[in-house]
């Protein structure tokens, strides 16, 4: 009897792993294809797509595509631009959206429910529908910088950052997480004399690792993948992000697929690095250990 049970458990475990492996393969194959193709000359690359060779390091392998890609486009500039724009936006977004959520959850003020409902309603509006009015608006916005007063934000870093700092989804994520934090921790802090700012900085945020990671990853992916908006507002090569840089490889009749794959491989590295660095935070959640569960 015990043997049968053990067998059943083994079988269940095996089938579970089989499903997980299958899913992993589905997710990993495009990446594999990208990396392998970036090492092959374009002629072989296209032939290989007809078989499983597309995923294998076979044939004539070299780093030539990378050399060519770096010659064709200022990849380092694009990657740095994207990392800068994305990094600054993510940091500002985490700060602004968590503060907004803090006000929605912990501070009492009239009209809170109505404003939160309106905020949630904006979730259904795609960015693409507001890009034209947004473009008209940012082209008229004033700015006081190092070079004095200027009008219009086009062709700047800030036009790629500011419109995306606050967003309903991030605020919503923070609100949901904050609601689950034990109320007593906030009350205890108040009794101890903590200001709202101290409670935010020393109690709430240190306990919000999981939601910070989630919001950061979602925002990072959204910002890193920005294409349409930078295409509309940025003409200068020096401040273009990576996705717009892809255009350097597609404006000819003959697409250099090997170079495209090399380019994509290079620009995927920051995304993977960012994701892997936050992965651990997803798993560990300490928020509930301070109160009796």
């Amino acid at each position: 009897m015990a043997v049968v049970k053990a067998d059943n458990r083994g079988l269940r475990l095996a089938s579970r792993y089989a499903v997980l492996i299958l899913v992993a393969i589905i997710f990993i194959f495009p990446l594999l294809f990208m990396v392998m193709s970036s090492l092959k000359p374009s002629s072989q690359l296209l032939l290989d797509t007809k078989s499983l060779r597309a995923f294998l390091p076979v044939g004539e392998l070299s780093l030539q595509n990378y050399t060519d890609a770096f010659v064709r486009a200022p990849i380092a500039v694009f990657v740095l631009n994207s990392v800068l724009i994305t990094g600054v936006t993510v940091l500002l977004c985490l700060f602004v959206c968590s503060l907004a959520a803090f006000a929605f959850v912990f501070v009492d003020w009239s009209g809170k429910a109505v404003i939160f409902s309106i905020l949630l309603a904006t979730l259904i509006i795609p960015y693409e529908t507001i890009f034209i009015p947004l473009l008209l608006m940012v082209s008229q916005l004033p700015w006081v910088g190092l070079e004095g007063f200027e009008l219009g934000w086009l062709n700047t870093y800030r036009v790629q950052i500011a419109p995306f700092i606050a967003d309903a989804l991030s605020i919503f994520l923070f609100v949901q997480f904050f609601k689950d934090l034990p109320k007593e921790l906030i009350e205890a802090s108040r009794v101890e004399g903590a200001s709202w700012w101290t409670i935010y900085r020393r109690v709430v945020m240190p306990l919000s690792g999981p939601v910070i990671a989630t919001a950061a990853i979602l925002k990072f992916l959204f910002m890193y993948n920005q294409y349409l908006w930078p295409l509309m507002v940025v003409q200068e090569e020096a401040i273009r992000p990576v996705m717009v840089g892809l255009g350097y490889f597609t404006d000819q009749l003959n697409v250099p697929w090997g170079e495209v794959m090399a380019y994509l491989t290079v620009i995927t590295v920051p995304v993977l690095a960012f994701y892997l660095s936050l992965q651990r935070v997803f798993i560990s959640s300490v928020a509930s250990t301070g109160v009796k569960g």
């Binding site: 007593e184 205890a188 009794v191 004399g193 301070g290 009796k292």
Partner: protein
């Protein structure tokens, strides 16, 4: 240290009145316990004193100040929560020092106060641990430590022991009692556990439905409960209640009987007793004792629980009534055994006639 005065305190949430006008005086250095069934408003009252709930009406004084509008942190109070409310991302040391850190206390002074609190609570060796590495009792000690370091005028405890298991609860109860003696601070303590209330309190405040039912020393409440609710709530097992008829009465006593109660004279001192020919008789289970002959009650044993030092006997009387007797000895009873009971008639409690519902509510609240 300070006294706390609640004058006509009221609390409403929209149209719902939760606290309906409460007057309580807590003297300097006194240990006052608020007790009552769930929903009686005891925690709300404590949170109003703490400054975590607005006060709808009345005035609250701590020391010589009216603090209705004073923020929690400036009321000179410290609070210990039922769920401990210690910060999981900080070490025990950081938790205890939290208030001092916020107040930007110099490091030397902070360290000294933390060590002092740790010494009082015997947790010097736990200072560098995180809450997740502590047991429930230790976590609650950290919360108390945090309260001590603030050197508050008034300590507030909101059911601090209800999350602990029975053995630990007894230990912590004694520790809190000792802490009160050593600090001499004013303490207000909320619990639904009347044993905690009886053992810790200098003064007990019994609350029900947003009103104070009675306020006084534990033994006053036990021996001279104002009303049926307090009588049923204080004491375990709960007081037995039986309907009786008043046969005759003079100013201080009344002869009562009923189909299940043999006639005897009971003292009368409560308002409302004797105005009608009916009354409710209350007898504490501890006052009943078995007798060979006579007695005022007789019935059959349905269940006997032997606890070693006492035996709790469930007795079925005629007409569907039942009483519990708590006998201060280990005795064997067989179910179905016939038993006669008597008690010191001076210890009888006569109340104005109560409905079965009221009797049940009083007994089940305990």
């Amino acid at each position: 240290m300070a006294d706390v005065k609640l004058k006509g305190i009221k609390k409403s949430y929209g149209p719902v009145d939760v606290i309906k006008g409460v007057d309580i005086d807590v003297n300097d250095g006194e240990f006052v316990v608020f007790v009552g069934p769930s929903g009686c408003g005891k925690s709300t009252l404590l949170r109003m004193i703490a400054g975590l709930e607005d006060i709808t009406g009345g005035t609250l004084e701590i020391g010589t100040r009216v603090v209705n509008e004073v923020p929690a942190s400036e009321r000179g109070i410290a609070m210990v929560f039922q769920s401990y409310a210690i910060f999981p991302h900080m070490t025990v040391r950081e938790n205890i020092a939290f208030g001092l850190t916020i107040a930007k206390t110099p490091k030397a002074e902070k360290d000294e106060k933390v060590m002092e609190a740790a010494r009082i609570l015997q947790m010097e060796n736990l200072l560098d641990r995180r809450p997740s590495q502590l047991s429930g009792g230790q976590r609650q000690r950290v919360a108390i430590g945090r309260a001590i370091t603030r050197n508050p005028e008034v300590f507030l405890f909101d059911e601090p022991l209800s999350n602990l298991d029975a053995a630990l609860r007894l230990d912590m109860r004694m520790e809190i009692g000792k802490l009160h003696k050593s600090l001499g601070a004013t303490m207000i303590y909320v619990t639904h556990d009347q044993v905690e209330a009886m053992t810790l309190a200098d003064k007990i405040v019994v609350l029900k439905d947003g009103y104070v039912q009675q306020m006084g020393a534990p033994m006053d409440l036990y021996h001279r409960p104002n009303n049926l609710f307090v009588a049923g709530f204080i004491g375990a097992p709960s007081m037995n209640f039986l309907d009786v008829d008043i046969v005759s009465q003079d100013g201080t006593s009344a002869k009562v009987n009923s189909p299940v109660v043999a006639e005897f004279a009971a003292p009368v001192w409560r308002d409302g007793v004797g105005q009608t020919p009916k009354a409710t008789l209350g007898i504490r289970p501890q006052d009943l004792r078995p007798v060979a002959e006579g007695g005022i009650l007789e019935g059959t044993v349905t269940l006997a629980e032997r606890l070693g030092t006492e035996t709790i006997v469930d007795i079925r009387l005629s007409h569907g009534h039942r009483v519990l007797a708590s006998l201060g000895e280990d005795r064997v009873f067989e179910p179905g055994e016939h038993i006669r009971l008597d008690f010191d008639h001076e210890k009888a409690h006569l109340f104005a006639p109560a409905t079965d519902q009221e009797k049940q509510a009083a007994q089940s609240a305990a």
